[in-house]
Symmetry: none
Subunit: 130 residues, 4 copies
């Protein structure tokens, strides 16, 4: 499982872990019943304090995305399709809203902004195809 930590972003490490795992569950990178790496494994791999990973896992559990099976480990929980869609929508909405607010505050019109958005999408896609 690919997990990238940016120590210089100012975003707390445990939140970066949460966000990325949550996203992998949403996008199908992690499926129902898949076992997560143990706290120590992941901590070692990311060169991060085990407490940090543990904290991230606790939040994911509280969110219901992950289940603890005692003595065995942590597993991706079954997520109802509705709930999955809902979370997906929320993720997208949050990200898009920030961009929208910025565009409005900078005085960029809806047409300009939407066009710019599409252009960036295109560019990013073609970049990742390389």
């Amino acid at each position: 499982m690919l997990l990238e930590i940016d120590h210089h972003s100012g975003v707390p490490i445990y939140r970066q872990v949460i966000r990325q795992i949550r996203q992998q569950i949403m996008t199908g990178g992690l499926k129902d019943g898949d076992q997560l790496e143990t706290v120590r494994q992941l901590a070692g791999r990311l060169k991060v304090n085990p407490m940090t990973v543990s904290k991230a896992y606790s939040f994911l559990e509280a969110e219901g995305l992950v289940e603890r099976r005692r003595g065995v480990g942590l597993f991706v929980a079954k997520v109802e399709k509705d709930q999955r869609e809902q979370i997906k929508d929320q993720l997208l909405k949050d990200a898009v809203n920030k961009a929208v607010v910025m565009a409005i505050q900078l005085g960029v019109s809806q047409e300009e902004a939407a066009e710019f958005f599409a252009r960036q999408y295109e560019e990013y896609k073609s970049k990742s195809r390389r």
Copy 2:
């Protein structure tokens, strides 16, 4: 000058002040030579400690967006149009890119994403017209 502080967002007050003033300068809400509210005025209005406001102003000064005139007050600095455009572009690009990356990672197509973006823009606009 409109300035909204959210005490519960977790974002430090002085950073909220920095961000909002920076944006008002960028969007022309505050122009070259305009005087900023005095530290004490703004502090009183936001009901925060004057030092908190002063801290925000200091960072804006270090950024070159604001100038001190001793014993007089703080004024919006002259920013070259080129530089202003460059900062604006960067702000928008950063915000849009994050949304784009999220859309791609969630498997949302360009058409869907762009349409969603436009819809959110519309909704936000109509909300702020209220």
Copy 3:
């Protein structure tokens, strides 16, 4: 790390700290990834309030010379060699230009001024060798 504070110079303490650390980074006395003294350590050593040190560090961070690693400490940021050279050149040029302008305004010839400059350099060097 050598840091000298002059409490009677009129120059704010935090600015003295900024200037000296910036210069140590520029001259290679502090290198990429080196850990800075903790806020409390340095504050204790200089016998100033921790917030004063923290303030200095914040500005260095805003300048991009220093990076926070949360819960760990502060580290010297990676500065591109080009950028470093550019900053160095600028620092030297500014200082030299002021001396040049003064020499010209006082009617001192180029030869005299350059000789005087070399003499002062020599004297300062021998003084610091003591």
Copy 4:
């Protein structure tokens, strides 16, 4: 008399006034017995608070460079040649020393630094001849 005030330099205005008048006396731009502009005249011309000019004049008087003749005005004092030379030397020395200290701290050798100094002198001279 040419006097330039930079409101953005961070240097107190009254100090800018002192420095420039002192320099004009030293370089002969102002001679023994010349009358200085009145406080109000100068303040009006520089668009500065009269108190600021008055403060500058007081310091110049305390320094002995200027004399108050009651009911008439302020005049440039007679300065002994020795004293004039001494002040001149001091001005140059201060300016040069700052450049020297910077060069040493940046690890620039005496030869390099002196050559750079001469080059800057040359360049500045040719620029002002244009």
